[in-house]
Amino acid sequence: MSPLAVALPAAFALLVSAVFPCLVTTLRGEPVDRLSGLILAGPMTTLVLLLLAAGYGRPAYLDMAFIVALLSFAGSLVFARFLGRTI
């Protein structure tokens, strides 16, 4: 497939402006404050992977995005339950 020209700049923009603030959020505050950064980082990473798949023209990378979407959802639930019970 032909690579999409807009996808790579958009992926870079997303990485810098969306994934990086999420990661910084996981560095500050109480544990429960950091949970929100973790939760948002999942879909943001999925979108970055999708854009990279379109930008390099390799549909095989879409499978990685699929797995990341599923696992980030499960991981967010696990952390939310954990933080809700023991603190």
């Binding site: 497939m1 402006s17 979407a69």
Partner: protein, 91 residues
């Protein structure tokens, strides 16, 4: 058209993540900006990508399934995290 959608989605993602970082109120940010990211930004980007040219319809189907997955798991994650935050705040 796909370019416009992708950049619009990326802009909403950037807005959500930066407001997430800058807001101090735990309940406000934990979920408004998380919910905004999954409900608005992700479908925009995925709609934009779906309109691009892929080599086979299986790729577009995979893309749409990922979009539906992100959209559907958003509210459930927000509710669970909301309960956790409330329990953790009350002590």
């Amino acid at each position: 058209m796909s370019t416009v959608l992708i950049w619009a989605g990326a802009a909403v993602c950037a807005f959500a993540a930066i407001r997430l970082l800058l807001t101090g109120d735990r309940f406000l940010r934990l979920h408004y900006f998380v919910s905004l990211g999954t409900v608005l930004a992700a479908p925009l980007v995925i709609a934009g990508l779906a309109l691009a040219s892929w080599s086979s319809w299986h790729d577009v189907a995979k893309l749409l399934i990922i979009g539906v997955l992100l959209f559907v798991t958003g509210p459930a994650t927000v509710i669970t995290a909301g309960r956790a935050t409330r329990r953790a705040s009350d002590g």
